[in-house]
């Protein structure tokens, strides 16, 4: 779940170059989140298999789903996030994977595959690429200046209006991903995070309405830079994005000290997964690409680059120690047990959800 303009530009340039290649060449069209892979993996794949990769990127699940539902997207491998994946499987967007072409499946992490089976029963359509959590990213010094020396380990730090009011001046961002933010809020007030009842959704929205006067922005991508250069001091964000903000601040040497925390009440766990559209033209090449990504040393390289955990158990020996030992990336077992997943929203429930979310955002 990344967004980076530079990454996007590079990928677009790569796509432009790719499309001018010879037609008879073996090719695979991949549609992934922006800045979500070590680009050298693509070159290595082509070197090893002779299959050219046409790589295209997106920054929102909504955009992907709309393209897939319209049909004829032209992609062979797509990386949707779990609740979206479940609905897309139901709509008939994807084809079943041919597991005989995926020998590297033996490397997968049973714990992740099990959780993913909630969305894809029997793991028939998708393989996990990366997974992560949605937590709090914050500027250590500015939060300390605003709130005093309190531990940042709970959603209280953001959801209690008296705290939010003090943080207002240094900048609060809320992740603009309604399904996740509502699950978190409903869990925070002691409701089932997976509830689809209108009353529970309204109650979840109430959590955000109370702090709305103190919120500066709602976005799902620009917050990385805003956190890194000190424009905002606290955000709900995806683990790897916040860690990326942390390393950007360190590179810039601007004295901004960013940290990520999984609050003790628990939070949302998401999965980004590799799947093949039903109307893909290069099915064999798509399988070859997915199988290549499941090589332990290859997916480890991707994890080292994007700082997200992957669903490949055998890869852990190749992952950098600072990534593997980082509890924000690979949380310890007792934290993992507190992470929750949610099932997809039906059309009517989705309408209620986004209606309340629009009310929150427009402050009405």
């Amino acid at each position: 779940m990344r967004n980076h303009l530079l990454g996007m530009a590079v990928a677009l340039a790569a796509t432009a170059l790719g499309s001018s290649a010879f037609a008879q060449e073996k090719v695979v069209h991949v549609y992934n989140w922006s800045d979500y892979i070590d680009e050298s993996i693509l070159a290595d794949f082509t070197k090893e298999t002779g299959i050219k990769v046409v790589y295209d990127v997106f920054d929102s699940n909504d955009l992907v789903e709309t393209k897939l539902l319209a049909g004829g997207s032209g992609y062979d491998v797509v990386v949707p996030t779990a609740p979206f994946l479940a609905r897309q499987i139901q709509a008939g967007v994807f084809q079943k994977l041919d597991k005989s072409k995926l020998p590297n499946m033996t490397n997968l992490w049973p714990l992740v595959s099990e959780r993913l089976a909630k969305y894809d029963p029997g793991n028939e359509y998708a393989i996990n690429y990366m997974w992560g959590t949605t937590g709090i990213g914050y500027n250590v010094d500015k939060v300390k200046a605003a709130l005093g020396d309190v531990p940042v380990d709970s959603w209280d730090i953001l959801f209690k209006p008296e705290n939010a009011e003090k943080l207002k001046s240094c900048g609060i961002n809320i992740l603009d991903a309604s399904d996740e933010t509502f699950a978190i809020a409903m869990n925070y007030i002691g409701k089932d995070p997976d509830s689809k009842e209108s009353a529970d959704l309204e109650a979840g929205g109430e959590v955000y309405k109370k702090i709305r006067p103190f919120v500066k922005t709602f976005n799902a991508s620009a917050y990385i830079d805003e956190l890194a250069n000190g424009d905002s001091c606290i955000t709900i964000g995806w683990s790897g994005d916040v860690l990326q903000a942390k390393s950007r601040a360190e590179e810039a040497g601007n004295g901004v000290n960013v940290e990520f925390v999984i609050p003790k009440e628990g939070t949302y766990m998401w999965f980004d997964n590799l799947a093949i559209p039903a109307d893909a033209k290069n099915v064999d090449e798509a399988h070859a690409f997915i199988n290549y990504l499941m090589k332990p040393e290859v997916i480890a390289k991707a994890s080292n680059y994007v700082q997200y955990a992957n669903g490949n158990l055998a890869s852990q020996q190749f992952i950098d120690k600072e990534v593997l030992d980082n509890p924000s990336v690979y949380p310890p077992e007792e934290v993992v047990n507190k992470l929750f997943t949610i099932s997809p929203y039906g059309p009517r429930e989705q309408r209620v959800l986004n209606r309340v979310w629009t009310q929150v955002k427009t402050g009405s």
Binding site: T66, Q90, G346, P347, Q350
Partner: protein, 312 residues
């Protein structure tokens, strides 16, 4: 077009009236074919989707057209439920009204800025007029999206505007311009982007004005400001209306500028439409919103057409 062909027949078409009428028919048909292919057909598709129901399917609505065998069944499943829903929820009415308000204010601002510009261009020496027109068109050489992105760099709190104001001392070290992600930024972006569309029709109207009228007014003792309101402005009215319509109509449906420069509380129908289509995946409701938007804009378009007829 047709009148030109009649008064000035080309030599070869004069030989046979049959060939003449055939080419005439073709010339007249081209805009109609264009209209049917690129307006009526897409509109009918959108209208049909607006009468459907959402579904978890590809495409995400039902019923879909499966051939003429089941056409009766197909029509029986269509209804106006989505339009009724639009009147139930104040969000849509507020979005429409807010869009109209933003479009109206922007159009007035465009007129206030564009009119003096166009007047100055029309009164400039004939030799430099083409250069001035060129300068108005010049921004089109850069992508619209890039130009809106540039405004982010100017308006954001630590952007160029803050820096400039701090440098000349109008703003203290700790202060920052708080324009980005507000309605003010949306107005700046819209007025900037649409200015050429306002200036060019105004210039076209003012440039062909007969200046001897103003000289006569002055000879008869009419002060310049009165001459402007009595002569210049009425004569430029077709340009004012054309420019206003060309700006007002697309601004009402604008999505990119409010999305990039506006805040979370900037309500515009283009953004609401986007949420319905992408966020809720509710294509039928999004189509209903689009159909209503079109109906609302037909009124100013008809005023524009009427005005054009009067001018011709």
């Amino acid at each position: 077009m047709a009148t030109v062909a009649e008064t000035n027949p080309a030599p070869h078409s004069a030989k046979g009236t049959g060939g003449h009428s055939w080419t005439r028919w073709l010339v007249v048909a081209v805009p109609y074919i264009w209209l049917i292919l690129f307006f009526v057909a897409p509109f009918l598709i959108i209208f049909k989707i607006s009468l459907s129901d959402t579904a978890i399917a590809m495409p995400p609505y039902l019923p879909t057209f499966d051939g003429f065998g089941s056409i009766g069944e197909f029509f029986s499943e269509l209804d106006f439920e989505n339009y009724i829903f639009l009147t139930d929820d104040p969000l849509y009415i507020m979005s429409y009204l807010s869009s109209l308000r933003i479009a109206a204010i922007s159009t007035i601002l465009l007129l206030l800025i564009g009119y003096p510009m166009a007047l100055a261009m029309a009164r400039a020496p004939t030799s430099i007029r083409p250069t001035l027109v060129m300068l108005v068109i010049l921004p089109f050489w850069t992508s619209f999206l890039i130009r809106v992105y540039a405004w982010i760099g100017i308006l954001k709190p630590d952007g160029l505007l803050t820096l400039a104001l701090q440098t000349i001392g109008l703003m203290g070290e700790g202060e920052q311009v708080q324009i980005f992600r507000t309605d003010y930024a949306v107005f700046i972006g819209i007025v900037y982007s649409y200015l050429p569309f306002m200036v060019l029709p105004l210039y076209a109207a003012l440039e062909k004005m007969d200046n001897t009228l103003l000289e006569a007014a002055s000879d008869l003792g009419c002060p310049p400001w009165k001459a402007f309101w009595k002569i210049t402005f009425p004569l430029s009215l077709p340009g004012v209306i054309a420019g206003s319509m060309i700006c007002f109509i697309p601004i009402t449906g604008e999505f990119v500028i409010p999305d990039l420069l506006g805040g979370a509380d900037t309500l515009m129908i283009g953004k609401t439409l986007w949420t319905e289509f992408f966020g809720n995946r509710d294509w039928p409701l999004a189509s209903a919103v689009a159909v209503i938007l079109l109906v609302m804009l037909v009124v100013p378009i008809m005023i524009f057409q009427n005005q054009q007829k009067k001018v011709v």
